[in-house]
């Protein structure tokens, strides 16, 4: 047993505070972990104190179950002592075959939820069965772990159950406590099963943990229950787990409960084990036969279990976690001891041996009571008084092993306990308080020790060397919350990459639509030539001039012409190439603008190591990729060993842009951009402009002619009636004044038109269509050796020829490893040596070290 120096008084280092609902809190001033028997949020300190004489208050996570049940991980786990006396811990996932000396605790997942419809009553039995003959009757459970029934009138927080420690009668008949309607059970969200068992003599049989749910009503629709351990549950109205072992997961925070109207509050703390009615809870001696403990034997320790409190009677509720309700006292209302009496006569109250005494004080503020202010008078209907106590263990037989065993059990429960009897008769000259103080000193007040995760292991401690009296105070906080330990993983590795390429070339590289006014055709040289010929020979007819043809130069419609060193990777339908509405009769594959871009896959190569040593890496080995139409790039060959190097190129055939993707196992690691097309410098005739010019000239010529002819008419020397007739023809009314002047003027104008006509005629004869550049040339970037990607690996040469077998045995490969010599095989050379255990002399050790440093074969 560990005794870690619990100092029990203010003077020595621990202030023990008592809370009627929450057990004790401890402020430590000395190093220790101490189980308080309960937990509380405010003012509760579980301090792991270093060598610091000052009080260090380290507020604990209030969900910790100081009562000793603590929390435990994911699965139903149990701790037991095997036949060799070794403590074992296992996750229960199957049937077991163990011979057990004892079971220390079971931890059961809280995810057992049973929802009960209104009006239904369900009894849930949890137990341990040692054979396969579990026959659906709870009575067949060999060791009931917890039995309870509850109905829907109770308010269940999340419909979760908390399971208490073992209860069974002295004849080992499973018993249960039934809460009827009106009983309200409150409990912390996280519950646990704690099974502090005596020795279980399960020999070589199976060990099965069973969950048996019994419903009072089998009416269809009325029994809806869900058990999250559904895998282990038959979905019939009565659950039978013969063939279904359990697996449970729990958080283990025991709950507290209260009954009656006084319990109608949110109690999130843990204190109690479910009460039982008029039965005792036995912890028997090792190798005890599970059938029946001896009542009057000399080697048994008994824990009295709890008795239900019900209004107006002299019964008691006890919690092994230091909280109990009592509506009765003995020996007055002051400091006293309590000897359990049983109407059933199970125990002889006149025989105080082998009894457990719960020391409590009624009404004395040393202990204080009912911090929440709901102190009920003794004996009132439905009322109860909360007390605190120290569990006292007494045995007629003070054999050290049995006593220690009982101590260990108490420590598991996390209670305060003592083996000191205090009765009112100790010293009648003293007040009860003084007797109490005298009796309970540091040295005989024990408490269980919990570890940093809130688990007990049966260790306990007590005060040392200090007879100063205990100092108790009260803490009335009622806001504890369940404990959820946070695992600490200091070496959590970074999240590795998932090596997933979430890109999708087809999705992300879609060129989209260019519905504005562009068309692209893939075509041959022949068709290009044909197209240009069309442009150069185009002569619009009069009908064309009056049609919707608005363009003057067909060549104006060509944006660019690209030449690719390989076929355009598109297989569309051939269609005539139109320039506006003009069918050039040249044929090309018309691009669908939504076809996106083309991906050319050049495949992959696996990159393998050659030397299998440092020479496989730069600068001794290098990998260079020659990417056509772009550049040469060097990539780290070390990244590719054991992987596949792929290259794909994404080509935009409307611009010639080519993006090469260098990949490792399909994931892009590098990109290189370039352009693989040549803009062709082509020119054609601006036939449209030419035609327009011609049209203008022709029109001007006709206008000129009309004007000349009009002036020719005016040159006729008509006078008189002829002139008048001419005037009529010309539409001239009235007399012509100065006909000779007019005549002269008309003749001069006619001559002008004649000259203009000559000019127009000259222009018509000398107008030619102008050439225009359709597509500008660009420098040729095609000066590549090839258009397929090429890799080049350069590897160093080694000057000394190496026979690796001989080399490894005589020289050894360079390494930097640490360990023991036994970790290595073959030839080794050490740079540093430290012996762990050697019997050689100093001189021999020196020789050995030198030999290890020069090389030995181990």
């Amino acid at each position: 047993m560990i005794n870690t120096g619990y100092y029990g008084t203010q003077d020595s280092g621990i202030d023990v505070y008592n809370n009627t609902y929450y057990g004790h809190t401890i402020n430590l001033k000395k190093p220790a972990w101490v189980a308080s028997g309960s937990y509380i949020k405010q003012g509760s300190y579980l301090a792991k104190v270093a060598e610091n004489p000052e009080t260090i208050f380290d507020t604990i996570d209030t969900s910790i179950a100081h009562c000793g049940i603590g929390v435990k991980g994911d699965f139903l786990t149990w701790e037991y002592t095997d036949r060799e006396g070794n403590t074992q811990t296992e996750v229960l996932t199957a049937r077991y075959n163990h011979y057990l000396r004892s079971i220390h605790w079971l931890s059961l997942n809280r995810d057992i939820s049973i929802s009960i419809p209104a009006g239904d009553t369900v009894t849930v039995h949890f137990g341990i069965d040692d054979d396969d003959n579990y026959n659906s009757a709870y009575s067949d459970i060999d060791i009931p772990v917890w039995l309870s029934s509850f109905d829907t009138s109770s308010a269940y927080r999340n419909n979760q159950r908390c399971f208490s420690a073992i209860q069974y009668t002295d004849d080992n008949t499973p018993s249960y406590y039934h809460w009827g309607g009106g009983d309200t059970q409150r409990y912390a969200p996280n519950q646990s099963l704690c099974y502090n068992s005596p020795l279980i003599k399960y020999g070589l049989g199976d060990f099965v943990f069973v969950i048996y749910v019994e419903c009072s009503s089998t009416a269809e629709g009325s029994n809806s229950r869900s058990v999250t351990l559904a895998d282990y549950v038959n979905t019939s109205s009565t659950y039978n787990y013969i063939n279904r072992p359990y697996v449970g997961r729990v958080y283990a925070v025991p709950y507290t409960w209260s009954t009656g109207s006084a319990g109608n509050r949110e109690l999130s703390r843990v204190t109690g084990i479910a009460p039982s009615f008029n039965r005792k809870f036995s912890i028997t001696a090792p190798y005890y036969n599970k059938v029946s403990p001896e009542k009057t034997g000399t080697k048994n320790f008994y824990f009295y279990d709890m008795q239900q409190s019900y209004g107006g009677s002299g019964s008691y509720n006890y919690s092994l976690y230091n909280i109990f309700c009592t509506s009765n006292t003995l020996n007055g209302t002051d400091w006293t001891t309590e000897t359990q009496t049983y109407p059933s006569g199970v125990y002889d109250s006149a025989t105080p041996v082998q009894t457990i005494h719960y020391y409590y004080v009624a009404g004395y503020n040393f202990w204080s009571t009912c911090g929440f202010g709901e102190l009920r008078p003794v004996g009132s209907s439905g009322g109860y008084t909360m007390r605190t106590c120290i569990l006292h263990i007494q045995s007629q037989d003070n054999a050290s092993d049995l006593k220690e065993y009982a101590f260990e059990m108490c420590a598991y429960l996390g209670v305060f306990f003592s083996d000191r009897i205090v009765t009112a008769t100790v010293d009648t000259t003293l007040t009860t308080e003084e007797q109490w103080k005298q009796a309970f000193t540091d040295e005989n007040i024990y408490c269980g020790i919990i570890d940093s995760e809130g688990l007990t292991h049966g260790f306990y401690t007590h005060g040392q060397g200090n007879t100063a009296t205990l100092s108790f105070g009260n803490d009335n906080a009622q806001n504890a919350t369940p404990y959820k330990p946070t695992p600490f993983n200091p070496d959590v590795p970074p999240t590795p990459t998932d090596e997933t390429d979430r890109g999708d070339l087809n999705t992300h590289l879609n060129s989209g639509s260019y519905a504005t006014s562009a068309k692209y055709y893939a075509t041959t040289e022949t068709q290009i030539t044909k197209l240009i010929d069309f442009i150069n020979t185009y002569s619009p007819t009069d009908a064309d001039l009056t049609s919707d043809f608005k363009g003057v130069n067909p060549s104006d419609y060509i944006t660019n012409i690209l030449f690719f060193p390989f076929d355009v990777m598109y297989s569309g339908a051939a269609s005539p190439i139109y320039l506006s509405v003009l069918n050039t009769t040249a044929i090309g594959l018309k691009f669908n603008p939504s076809f996106g871009v083309t991906v050319a896959d050049f495949g992959g190569i696996s990159i393998d190591r050659y030397f299998n040593d440092f020479r496989d890496y730069p600068p001794y080995t290098k990998l260079t990729l020659n990417i056509p139409f772009a550049e040469s790039v060097e990539i780290d060959i070390g990244e590719y060993y054991g992987h596949t190097l792929n290259i794909k190129s994404v080509i935009d055939f409307t611009t010639g842009d080519i993006l090469s993707l260098i990949m490792r196992d399909g994931l892009v690691t590098k990109t290189v951009s370039g352009n693989c097309a040549i803009q062709l410098p082509l020119s054609a005739l601006a036939m449209g402009t030419y035609q327009q010019t011609l049209n203008t000239l022709q029109s001007n010529a006709k206008i000129n002619q009309v004007n000349k002819e009009a002036n020719d008419v005016i040159t006729v020397a008509d006078t008189g009636a002829a002139l008048a007739s001419m005037s009529e023809t010309l539409g001239i009314s009235g007399a012509i004044a100065n006909p000779i002047t007019t005549l002269a003027r008309g003749a001069a104008q006619r001559d002008t038109y004649i000259e203009q006509g000559k000019q127009i005629d000259y222009s018509l004869k000398h107008t030619t269509p102008s050439p225009m550049t359709i597509s500008g040339g660009t420098p040729c970037n095609m000066a590549m050796l090839e258009y397929l990607p090429r890799y080049t690996i350069t590897r160093c040469k080694t000057l000394n020829i190496i026979d690796y077998n001989t080399y490894s045995y005589t020289v050894g490969f360079a390494t930097a490893q640490q360990g023991r010599v036994s970790d290595f095989t073959g030839f080794i050379v050490c740079s540093d040596v430290e012996f762990d255990n050697i019997s050689a002399t100093a001189a021999e050790q020196e020789i050995i070290k030198n030999m290890l440093k020069s090389g030995v074969v181990v």
């Binding site: 006014s517 068309k519 590897r795 490894s808 010599v821």
Partner: protein
């Protein structure tokens, strides 16, 4: 009376666990100082001992390389030896903590090794194009872009 066991050792000096074949055993009584590191002992003549090169002396719990065997008057053999610390303390050495800088079986061989001389001037070249040629030739190698009033619906 002390005992010496003679062996034929065929292992190199730097081998920890020697390959030894027992040959003979002899007892001796020290007449002079017998040094634990370089013992010198006299035993009765035994032809077999002449073929041995290794011995174990019980009293010292050590193995020894035999330096010399000389014939002595009185049909004796004088044997001089020196201690083989490796074999003698092999098990103890196994538990020693070491930092190994060279090994026959390293965890990996990627650590630079200056005993492998790399020629800085010449290289092997491995070169090739990637295996897949997605291109074809001789078909439509021209692309012409045309503006037009024709509406293109993607």
């Amino acid at each position: 009376m002390f005992t010496a066991t003679f062996y034929l050792n065929t292992s190199d000096k730097n081998v920890m666990y020697k390959n030894i074949t027992p040959i003979s055993t002899a007892t001796f009584t020290p007449t002079n100082e017998v040094n634990i590191f370089t013992p010198s002992l006299t035993v009765d003549y035994d032809n077999n001992i002449l073929t041995s090169n290794y011995m174990y002396i019980n009293a010292f719990s050590r193995y020894y390389y035999i330096n010399n065997i000389s014939l002595q008057i009185g049909k004796k053999l004088l044997i001089t030896a020196y201690v083989d610390v490796l074999m003698s303390f092999a098990d103890d050495i196994q538990s020693a903590f070491v930092n190994v800088c060279r090994a026959q079986n390293p965890a990996n061989r990627d650590l630079s090794d200056d005993k492998i001389q790399v020629n800085p001037k010449t290289y092997f070249i491995e070169t090739n194009s990637l295996p897949n040629n997605p291109y074809t030739m001789g078909g439509n190698q021209y692309v012409i872009g045309i503006n037009g009033t024709e509406v293109i619906t993607p």
